[in-house]
């Protein structure tokens, strides 16, 4: 057991910090082109596609280096790279399951954000029970004709390509009739409608496919072999942002401390109220434990141990923590905590959480974490079955199969 960063990692962190100091955008990035330009700059510096093999345009870096970059970016609230779904999950899936032609055609342009990617998995009636998805893909020899609807699609309006799970055989048990195919989003048969969330913004969208075309050459793996591929895709979805996430929590905590020094109760700063102190002590312990757990995950990744089902514990832990965290922040801040934009007349109390947006924004967003990428309930099923070895539940669809 040794939790010191290696001299190489410390040097890498220092170099990253220096690079960010020089290169961080001076003004807010407004247009997609500006965000793409910043993305390319990050890529050329070696800070995007870090875990990808060099032969596919990546940097062959270590999970620790990737986490350090995310952490340093969080520290200075640098705008993130784009195409996160593509680079984090879809690209690695193509690397593992794709053909040489697919790798050549898609990977480099994904890394440089020349082409933006989205994930077409969830459907209105296929959420936690993803395998019950209904979007049909009919085999037309050299291509599929796709009909159906997807939902919760991030980056939908800006996406050029999507990774699609679709039903290619409705007659076999549900897990066995699903295929995975790459879909061109820029075609007449694909319509994207933004979906407004409880935050008021529209980061997700609905995608309608009406006789859309997907080429056979864009099939990933075998026909009806898509479910196993979807499992690897989900598996890539955890780990790299471990440190950056915690740094953002700490930034928000420091903002909260600032506010509790400004707000008064009985003529005394809120921070001197024992009831407030006790709750802040509790949540900060919780926060620190998220940090230790992140280091533990990184140490395992660094040694090449695939976290597997144990990554469900991590996801469950930090998403549930986020809800408790921002709930507490809003309790302490009172009505100030409910401001969606920082207001000038309240300037003595800074309601921003340190990230773009206020505590209210973060509070609302925290409700999403325990739903996306497998809800908390699904994570607990996975932990129960695959980590603790508890018997599978008797389910109506399993009885049928």
């Amino acid at each position: 057991m040794d939790l010191n960063y290696s001299p190489e990692d410390r040097e890498f962190r220092a170099a990253t910090r220096r690079w960010l100091e020089t290169n961080i955008p001076k003004q807010e990035l407004k247009t997609l082109d500006e965000r793409k330009a910043w993305h390319r700059k990050l890529y050329e510096a070696g800070y995007v596609g870090m875990l990808w093999p060099k032969e596919y345009g990546g940097w062959g870096a270590t999970p620790m280096q990737q986490a350090i970059v995310q952490d340093e970016m969080a520290r200075v609230s640098a705008p993130p790279a784009i195409n996160g779904l593509g680079i984090g999950f879809i690209g690695p899936t193509i690397i593992v399951h794709g053909t040489e032609a697919q790798k050549k055609r898609y990977l480099k342009r994904m890394l440089t954000a020349e082409e933006i990617w989205c994930q077409l998995y969830s459907e209105p009636n296929a959420g936690s029970d993803l395998a019950s998805l209904k979007t049909r893909a009919e085999d037309q020899g050299d291509h599929f004709v796709v009909n159906g609807q997807k939902i919760w699609t991030s980056s939908g309006p800006i996406a050029d390509w999507g990774i699609l799970l679709c039903r290619t055989d409705p007659k076999v048990p549900k897990h066995r009739g699903i295929s995975c195919v790459l879909l061109n989003m820029r075609q007449p048969g694909v319509e994207v409608r933004p979906l407004k969330q409880i935050t008021g913004s529209s980061l997700f969208s609905e995608v309608f496919m009406t006789n859309a075309r997907a080429d056979k050459s864009d099939l990933i793996g075998d026909v009806n072999g898509g479910w196993a591929i979807a499992q690897t895709t989900l598996g890539f979805e955890r780990g790299g942002n471990a440190l950056g996430r915690v740094t953002r929590y700490v930034t928000a905590f420091n903002q909260l401390v600032k506010a509790t020094k400004e707000l008064k109760r009985g003529g005394k700063p809120l921070i001197d109220d024992p009831a407030v102190r006790a709750r802040m002590g509790r949540i900060y312990a919780d926060l620190e434990v998220q940090r230790y757990a992140a280091l533990r995950v990184l140490s395992a990744l660094q040694k090449g141990d695939a976290p597997g089902a144990a990554s469900s514990i991590t996801k469950l832990s930090y998403t549930e923590f986020e809800k408790r965290y921002y709930e507490l922040a809003l309790e302490i801040l009172g009505p100030f905590g409910q401001l969606m934009v920082a207001r000038e007349e309240f300037e003595e109390v800074d309601t921003s959480s340190g990230e773009p947006g206020t505590f209210a924004t973060a509070f609302l967003w925290s409700r999403a974490g325990t739903i996306y990428s497998g809800s908390s309930e699904i994570q607990k099923n996975i932990i129960g079955e695959r980590v603790l070895g508890l018997p599978k539940e008797v389910r109506a669809d399993r009885l049928k199969a």
Binding site: M1, Y284, Y292, S299, K380
Partner: protein
């Protein structure tokens, strides 16, 4: 960056598990409930022979020179077995003597502790149960032969079997730490038992207890920082023990959920039970991260070692209370019976929660450090 145990550390863990599975079964713990001493002399000696008592003592005193991580590994296993005895108070006292004692004091006590020939304990709490070492009210007055101590010490673990008591008291110079002979004049010991019958506490009444001039550990008036450090070390150790108790309860609950059938199925197949067990595992794994981070931070003298100790104690206290309690819930009625072993660990975790700084104390330490 490596958060996993080294092969030596894993070996230590395995051998501790094997020893305790054989020598410290629930039946052993139950037998000692009615024992006036409350511990087994033979187990104590065997543990010493395995090198446990001197684990973190210098080799010159018969120790192995290992750190808090190894000590926490042992304490987790001891907690898992609900080991009854003065192991942690003795080892913590040895750390105090090693850190602040003079050569004569070290010679007198450290080798004897390493060989299992001496037991020691530390009296953190005065009459008011204030964990702040600077708040000590027991008085130390200078006398012709050295000092006299007067005051009350409460909930001193295992003082009735100790060969030496480490007593904090307020000297004219400030908080000081004294080595006191438990059989000395003016000292009255009364045993106290809580709901965990295997945790033994003692109340001490001191009425002008004479103490020799050379019985001060370190310089008079300089003990506040030493005691704060010992309290933190004690807290990390207690957190490791609570973690062990929690993991034992989780294992029992999961094992039971696999075999207990209701409605024609193992109850572990129901989400209501499975989700509860998953939440328990989450708390146990987070507790593991907290305990070993804090133990490593102590060894490495990391910048945040003080914070980490309080985080570990505060977090694991909540987590172990929840996990051990939920294990009873998963078991249903059988888990509430005296015959079933769950309450042994449930009560042990609860007893440790109140020791080495309770949750409120450590949360306050956390806030102080986090809001600076």
């Amino acid at each position: 960056m490596d958060f996993s145990f080294s092969s030596d550390q894993q070996l230590l863990k395995n051998s501790a598990r094997a020893f305790l599975d054989e020598h410290c079964q629930p039946a052993t713990v139950r037998l000692l409930w009615d024992d006036p001493r409350g511990e087994s002399e033979s187990m104590w000696k065997e543990m010493a022979q395995l090198g446990w008592h001197g684990l973190s003592l210098p080799e010159a005193y018969g120790g192995s020179g290992l750190g808090m991580v190894e000590t926490a590994i042992l304490l987790e296993e001891l907690g898992r077995a609900a080991y009854p005895g003065p192991y942690w108070p003795t080892v913590l006292s040895a750390a105090a003597i090693e850190a602040a004692g003079n050569d004569a004091q070290k010679k007198r006590w450290l080798s004897a502790i390493a060989t299992g020939d001496a037991r020691a304990t530390l009296a953190f709490l005065d009459r008011d149960l204030d964990w702040d070492p600077a708040a000590v009210t027991t008085r130390a007055e200078k006398s012709s032969k050295g000092w006299t101590l007067s005051g009350t010490k409460r909930f001193v673990p295992w003082a009735h079997v100790a060969d030496v008591l480490l007593i904090p008291a307020r000297a004219p110079e400030g908080p000081s730490l004294f080595l006191v002979d438990p059989s000395g004049a003016g000292l009255k010991l009364s045993p106290v038992q809580g709901m965990d019958l295997a945790t033994r506490w003692v109340h001490l009444e001191m009425d002008s207890v004479p103490v020799a001039g050379d019985a001060v550990l370190g310089a008079p008036g300089q003990a506040a920082a030493l005691l704060s450090g010992l309290l933190r070390r004690g807290a990390v150790g207690a957190a490791a023990e609570m973690l062990g108790a929690a993991r034992r309860c989780l294992d029992m609950a999961v094992g039971y959920a696999k075999v207990r059938e209701q409605f024609g199925q193992p109850i572990g197949s129901f989400q209501a039970i499975r989700h509860k067990c998953s939440e328990m595992l989450l708390e146990v794994e987070n507790s593991h991260s907290a305990v070993y981070y804090a133990a490593w931070a102590l060894d490495a003298k990391a910048e945040d070692h003080e914070l980490a100790a309080s985080v570990a104690k505060a977090y694991v206290a909540d987590a172990s209370r929840k996990v051990c309690g939920e294990a009873i819930q998963v078991h249903g009625g059988i888990g509430f019976t005296w015959e079933y072993d769950l309450h042994i660990y449930f009560k042990r975790a609860k007893a440790l929660e109140a020791m080495y700084g309770d949750v409120d104390y450590h949360r306050e330490q956390i806030v102080r450090r986090a809001t600076r």
